[in-house]
Amino acid sequence: MRAALPVLTVLAAILLLWYLAVAPMNIRGALDLAERSGRAVTPETPLARQDVSVWRLMAQNPGQIAAAYELDRPRLPTPQQVGGELWKTTGEMALRGRAMSKRSLIYHAAVTLRSTLWGFVLGTALGILGAVAIVYSRVVDMSLMPWAIISQTIPIVALAPMIIVLSSQLGIEGRGVPKAIIAAYLCYFPVLVGMVKGLRAPAPSQLDLLQTYSASGLQVFLKLRLPSSVPYLFTSLKIGIAASLVGTIVGELPTGAISGLGARILIGDQFGTPLAIWAALLAAALMAGALVTLLDLLQRITLKRMGMQA
């Protein structure tokens, strides 16, 4: 709560800067429009305006600055415009009972969410299994770990189209699966690293303690390694779900996904409707925030239950 005031202040500053930036960003567009509708602007032709700085343009056409805040296709929309578009495609549609229509961002968010969650589950499972293998087997540790790092340096976008084709080759239908695979690809790594750290967290003396009880390998895992990895697990889950969302959206950009927030960004770009892009971006941001917050909450509850202070 102590952070509320500073955060709000910083947010306000960001909004203010955003508003101030709108005019210079959009002035050319506003002048083009004004010229077409027959109003006098200086300089008179788009070609002539090309070489004049935006500041000069604003100074010479003070009357048009207001128009820069009301363009249909702004280079930089105002926060209001973005918020308005978001409301129009979510709340308003929900109020009209069309929350799941294809024109509603709620529908697209749900599509993205589904792939994100599948990818998250898949990636987390892979990450945990990999971590267990790495912690328990030296060969796996030595041969896998470097490749796990290298795998993250491969730009998955490049693989996206191939993943579609390969998965359809393997008889996997539906466009959600490739997205989930990409999401899992990005998600597994932080989970793997975190879990390796977590499973190795017990101090030698803690392991020795169980040795003195002559505990079995499974007992050591269940009673010591697993519980002590929980805080690490949650920390990496939070990174993992964010990565998973990034993966889904990246997967929706070029894999020809036709629904989902990434697809909305793409389509907004294709049809030159910046407001749609911004609204989808905002929705994605809200979703990321919600998912991470949810996991954070889960972490607090779990750790409290386990008696470890959060």
Partner: protein, 282 residues
């Protein structure tokens, strides 16, 4: 079929060898530390080659590694041109600008506890966002050439580095700060002699995360418009014209570049934070 059997046999053999190496007396030597993962990588390639040949997979779906290697060798000029466009101009420039901006910003806001408290949660939040989505916007703002790619990279790397650095600057323990107070040390002395060195492990953590982001950012941005060169450009047109072997060659370049970039940062980390327990060899 022969190919498939050979590949599987090779796999089994290599794994057994690796297992033996990992248990052997020399398991902590540098040679073995490198040989084991390399052997594992080679196994994957052999398995891939064997699958493609054994199952007769069409080259427009998945080319064999040998074919990719040939294409790689035959198109070094194209690959170099794309590498320069995407990695050197787009990713590295963006990384340099983004990283410096993030470092300077952290030091600047660090003086104000108020700003730090306000910016840290926001930075953490933004670092978790799918920032990659702004690529189309930045391409329309900064044009088609590498500048827009660099811009995407700047935004993508900025927040992870910022958050880590701010965190690192706050990480010195109370005793070390008190020590500086007993010397009546000023802000700059404390920053240069205590807080920056102590923050280095964190800063490098951010830098390492940023390296992989930089490459992804630069390549994705090319999907939204580019000149007729660049790795993203080549990959997308390659898929369109079924030159999948060239696409894989580009992927190989990306992986090599990414790994090299990451290793470079990791090496610098070793040199700078040699003192940190995680870097010390016992």
């Amino acid at each position: 079929m022969m190919w498939l059997i050979f590949a599987l046999a090779f796999w089994a053999g290599a794994w057994a060898l690796n297992a033996a190496l990992a248990r052997s007396r020399w398991r902590d030597t540098r040679v073995v530390r490198i040989a084991v993962p390399v052997l594992f990588g080679v196994t994957l390639l052999v398995l891939w080659e064997g699958m493609v040949r054994g199952l007769g997979v069409s080259p427009v779906i998945l080319p064999a590694p040998s074919v990719v290697a040939q294409t790689f060798a035959a198109s070094t000029e194209t690959l170099w041109e794309d590498f320069r466009q995407t990695v050197l101009k787009g990713a590295l420039t963006g990384f340099a600008i983004g990283a410096s901006a993030a470092l300077l910003t952290s030091v600047a806001i660090d003086r104000s506890a108020f700003l730090t408290r306000g910016l840290l949660p926001i930075g953490n939040f933004v670092a978790a966002l799918p920032i990659i989505g702004i690529a189309p916007i930045l391409v329309s703002w900064f044009g088609f050439d590498w500048q827009s790619k660099a811009a995407v990279v700047v935004v993508m790397v900025f927040f992870p580095i910022l958050v880590n650095t701010v965190q690192g600057l706050r990480e010195t323990d109370a005793m070390q700060r008190d020590l500086m107070r007993t010397y009546a040390a000023g802000y700059w002395h404390t920053l240069l002699k205590l807080r920056l060195p102590a923050a280095m492990p964190f800063i490098f953590n951010g830098l390492k995360i940023a390296t992989t982001l930089a490459l992804i950012g630069a390549i994705v941005a090319e999907y939204f418009g580019s000149p007729t060169r660049g790795m993203g450009f080549r990959i997308s047109t390659g898929v369109g014209s079924l030159s999948i072997d060239l696409v894989w060659a580009e992927i190989a370049v990306a992986a090599l570049a990414g790994t090299a970039f990451y290793s470079l940062v990791a090496l610098a980390e070793r040199a700078v934070t040699f003192w940190h327990p995680s870097q010390r060899r016992r």
